[in-house]
């Protein structure tokens, strides 16, 4: 089975500083693949490269057979990216924001109304969807953005710390939404500091530190390998 995303020997440098030092991984269709690691490990840089925001210094990334370097616009049609500190246009109403984003994807067999309807369902903001984004709490904005990221049914959803800044209830809801959409066939590449979240969500995990993948596998497989009770202990053992 061909992977949806294939990353081979990926390197990224900013001047003399090497943020990603040659990493390899694959994401299969409908799979939730997680990158875990400390701050500055290279998680966000990797996600931003796959989202076509950053250029590749060395190595190769292919998405559905499209080379990211050569065909970034083809890739953008089938991916969706939720940055860790993303915002929405404060002067727009929630519904208008979803429509604005849906208009970029409509026409490929689906009209904007259907996409927006789905986005509203995911965001689940009730009547607040018709309020201006500027009046939203952090949690409401995050749910709106998750609705935006998943409403287009992308082939690959790239989610950077999807529950960042959310309370327990909202975090649970968001995780369930991600899980539900993955079951419907959407592949997810995510990063998180929250090991519990990773264990709950991901099919496979890559441990990343100082720009290198230390190990990868299922949560259970890694725990067995390192004889650890949870992923935090696994990570500590892998770093040593």
């Amino acid at each position: 089975m061909n992977p949806v995303l294939k990353v081979e020997g990926l390197k990224k440098s900013y001047g003399t500083k090497e943020a990603v030092k040659g990493i390899d991984f694959e994401v299969q269709a409908g799979e939730i693949f997680a990158l875990i690691g400390p701050n500055g490990a290279g998680k966000t840089t990797t996600l931003r490269i796959v989202a076509t925001l950053l250029t590749i210094s060395d190595g190769k990334v292919t998405f559905l057979g499209h080379d990211l370097k050569k065909e970034p616009e083809k890739v953008r049609e089938r991916i969706s990216y939720l940055p860790e500190e993303a915002g929405a246009y404060r002067n727009m109403k929630g519904a208008d924001y979803l429509r604005f984003m849906a208009n970029f994807y409509a026409g490929n067999g689906e009209n904007a109304d259907e996409i927006v309807k789905r986005g509203m369902g995911i965001a689940d903001l009730g009547t607040a969807i018709n309020d201006k984004v500027g009046t939203y709490s952090k949690g409401m904005t995050r749910k709106l953005l998750l609705g935006r990221a998943l409403m287009t049914r992308p082939t690959l959803a790239i989610l950077d710390e999807p529950t960042s800044g959310l309370d327990v209830i909202n975090s649970l809801e968001v995780r369930e939404i991600i899980k539900r959409y993955a079951k419907e066939g959407i592949s997810v590449l995510l990063s998180s500091h929250n090991m519990l979240e990773i264990e709950f969500l991901s099919d496979r995990v890559a441990l990343i530190d100082e720009g290198r993948i230390l190990d990868a596998g299922t949560s259970q497989g890694l725990k067995d390998k390192y004889q650890a009770s949870n992923l935090e202990v696994v990570f500590r053992s892998a770093v040593r």
């Binding site: 931003r48 925001l53 940055p83 993303a86 984003m101």
Partner: protein
């Protein structure tokens, strides 16, 4: 195209907010109000002026002098005071701006050709433009007085010759030459009129570029500050469209804002300078000298203005990328502001052609200088200079667009920052 329109509509909506509409309406209202006030003050200043006269002489000459002032469009109020001091005190209470005191024995002294001094008192009651104009009444009073007295003396001494022939024996016929065209008229009057008709062009250009550039820089900075830029750059639309829609929206809104501002400005300047209209004779001279913008002239000026605006927008796009947030965006407009301000001020005070070569080259290197220079060059028939300027502007614009597009198509759009502390651009 649908995606492009979607983005363009969003960019325009972002720019046309309540604050912009309110500030435009307020500004136009303020300009209009000040203009109308100034206009009414100017009308008052231009109307028949009241002057007070204390005639201590009561001779035929002094009475004739007062009568001549009436014919020179002054409303004479006779002071009944006994002396100058009392007349000044009385005039202080009134509205008169000038008090003329004709001393006793004035008529006789003129007959002896040893005229006594007439005392004049000017009351400064305001320092507004209208007030200053009123204080200039004295000059007109003195001129009218001198004219009457000299005519009177000449008539008595040389009765066979018209006083005007003796006063101005040399009559001149003035000609103005512009390149190969010649017409009869006053050079200063024509220059003044042409300036009054074209001074508005640099103001329009200055305002449009400033407005639009500020909007582009702020729009990009706001996308960064609100963390919306990353999401926008991952949607399926070419990066060039992201740049173009921001520039286009700022251009459209900037143009509209400037047009609305100009309505207010027109009213303001109309009030201060008065409605300057060319007389039929002056229009004829201007036409004869070719000092009007032909269709070709308007096209060249329009193209030059348009390209300058595009250069401003492209520069603003590049500078906007350097901004980290809305606050830092406010300072990034400074280089563009300086580049517009220098040729703008020079176009008002200096003749570009008379500048030393290094200064001339420096000014020519600024793309915004060319539309400022275009109007006089077109009027003087230097079309090739204007065309070269347009070509230069086009080249600068293309270079800037290529730079902006390259920045937006790479990750520099996210990583470029201007760090004031380290005083360097981080790429």
């Amino acid at each position: 195209m649908k995606k492009f329109t979607n983005l363009l509509v969003k960019e325009i909506k972002d720019l046309v907010n309540k604050q912009l509409i309110m500030s435009l309406v307020m500004m136009v209202a303020i300009f209009y109000f000040i203009g109308e006030m100034a206009k009414s003050e100017m009308k008052k200043a231009a109307a028949t002026q009241k002057i007070s006269v204390l005639d201590l002489d009561q001779s035929a000459l002094s009475k004739g002098l007062a009568a001549s002032l009436k014919t020179a469009n002054f409303q004479v109020e006779w002071s009944q005071a006994r002396d100058a001091e009392a007349a000044v005190q009385a005039a202080k209470q009134g509205e008169t701006y000038v008090l003329l005191v004709i001393p006793q024995g004035f008529g006789e002294s003129v007959d002896r050709l040893e005229p006594k001094e007439i005392s004049t008192y000017t009351f400064l009651r305001s320092f507004s433009i209208g007030g200053i104009r009123k204080s200039e009444i004295l000059k007109a009073v003195i001129a009218a007085t001198n004219s009457y007295l000299s005519n009177d003396i000449l008539k008595k001494k040389v009765p066979d010759v018209a006083p005007d022939v003796l006063k101005t024996p040399i009559k001149s016929k003035d000609y103005i030459i512009v390149k190969d065209k010649m017409a009869e008229g006053s050079a200063s009057a024509i220059s003044g009129f042409v300036y009054s008709q074209s001074f508005i062009i640099p103001i329009i250009l200055f305002m449009i570029i400033m407005y639009s550039s500020q909007m582009v820089i702020s729009a990009i900075a706001m996308e960064k500050q609100n963390k919306t830029l990353e999401t926008l750059l991952t949607v399926p639309i070419p990066r060039t469209a992201v740049v173009t829609t921001k520039m286009l929206a700022a251009g459209i809104v900037g143009l509209l804002s400037a047009a609305i501002y100009m309505i207010g400005m027109k009213s303001y300047f109309g009030g201060i300078t008065g409605d300057i209209r060319a007389s039929a004779a002056m229009s004829g001279v201007i036409k004869q000298l070719g000092l009007t913008l032909s269709g070709k002239g308007y096209v060249l000026l329009g193209v030059s203005l348009f390209l300058a605006i595009l250069c401003g927008l492209a520069m603003a796009t590049i500078l906007g990328v350097l901004a980290e947030d809305f606050r830092s965006a406010q300072t990034l407009i400074l280089p563009i502001m300086l580049m517009i301000l220098v040729p703008y001020l020079l176009s008002i005070f200096v003749d570009f052609q008379t500048l030393p070569l290094p200064a001339k080259l420096l000014i020519m290197a600024i793309p915004f200088s060319h539309p400022f220079m275009a109007t006089p060059n077109i009027m003087l028939g230097h079309y090739s200079t204007v065309v070269y300027g347009i070509l230069y502007e086009a080249v600068v614009f293309l270079v800037l667009v290529v730079i902006a597009a390259r920045i937006f198509s790479t990750d520099r759009v996210l990583t470029m920052k201007l760090r004031w502390g380290k005083k360097k651009v981080v790429l």
